[in-house]
């Protein structure tokens, strides 16, 4: 666990870089975490993050297939938004735990 001050908020990151307290999340934190990976978040990114946060709160287990069917972006588009880790990276920036699904 690592404590970090991002955008004026004291947050705790897990070893893999995921936010330990999802409730402290805001868009600036998302942008800062993404920037560390060289990704500039745009409207479509945020739409995906919002969707993931809502689904996570509802207790759903997340898969790229589900995101692909959400109507926000198809799977190909999701890979373009979050290259090299569509579900892992988006979950990280959405401030929710590391995904545990295999699909």
């Amino acid at each position: 666990m690592e404590k970090k001050n991002i955008a004026g908020v004291e947050i705790t990151l897990t070893e893999d870089g995921y936010m330990a307290e999802s409730s402290k999340w805001n868009k600036d934190i998302a942008a800062a975490l993404a920037k560390d990976d060289g990704i500039d978040l745009g409207d479509q990114h945020y739409a995906v993050l919002d969707y993931l946060r809502k689904e996570h709160e509802a207790g759903a287990s997340l898969t790229i297939r589900k995101v692909g069917k959400s109507g926000i972006v198809d799977i190909k588009g999701l890979y373009k938004l979050f290259p090299g880790g569509p579900l892992k990276l988006s979950s990280k920036y959405a401030g929710i735990p590391k995904p545990t699904s295999c699909v």
């Binding site: 287990s61 898969t63 790229i64 297939r65 589900k66 692909g68 198809d74 799977i75 190909k76 890979y79 290259p83 090299g84 880790g85 569509p86 579900l87 892992k88 699904s101 295999c102 699909v103």
Partner: protein, 167 residues
């Protein structure tokens, strides 16, 4: 304490040579999982594994009810061999398995292939097996990139952190 440098996998080549539901799915889950991790992924379907990419068959794959000691009745009792061979039992069991997988958000193979290629994965059919079964490129799902020899497939294993997985 000494710190060891991690050397993550960069490329996987996955060979699917069997066409039962669970064989094809094992390959597809591993390939899709690799793509999702940012690992370069190539798949090679050969022999009965070709069923997994054949348009007419891929979304109706069966699991063997005869000669499958791991198969259980709902509830956990062993599946009686005498029952397993009755007409319609294999279809019924297979369709039940497909339904359960769909519940876990595991797509049918045709959609799985699209997910894999959407992430940059590539799908190939084995030339020798294709010739043996007298099939043509048109018989395969559109996401199948090419029909190639095993030699061409091995040539793709050209990087340091590459693994070949045979399921």
């Amino acid at each position: 304490m000494e710190k060891t440098e991690k050397k993550p996998l960069e490329k996987v080549l996955i060979i699917c040579a069997k066409g039962a539901l669970e064989d094809v799915y094992a390959s597809l889950v591993m390939a899709n999982g690799a793509v999702m991790e940012g690992i370069e992924t190539k798949m090679f379907f050969t022999f009965f594994g070709l069923d997994g990419i054949t348009k007419a068959r891929m979304d109706h794959l069966h699991t063997a009810t005869v000669g499958n000691p791991s198969l259980r009745m709902p509830g956990g009792a062993p599946f009686p061999t005498m029952l397993a061979g009755l007409p319609g039992v294999e279809s019924g069991v297979s369709s039940m398995m497909r339904k359960q997988m769909d519940g876990l958000d595991m797509p049918p193979p045709s959609e799985f292939l699209e997910m894999i290629t959407a992430g940059g994965g590539e799908i190939f059919a084995c030339k020798l097996a294709v010739e043996m079964f007298k099939m043509r490129k048109e018989d395969f799902h559109d996401e199948v990139k090419d029909i190639i020899t095993i030699g061409q497939f091995y040539e793709m294993a050209d990087g340091d952190r590459t693994q070949i997985i045979f399921t």
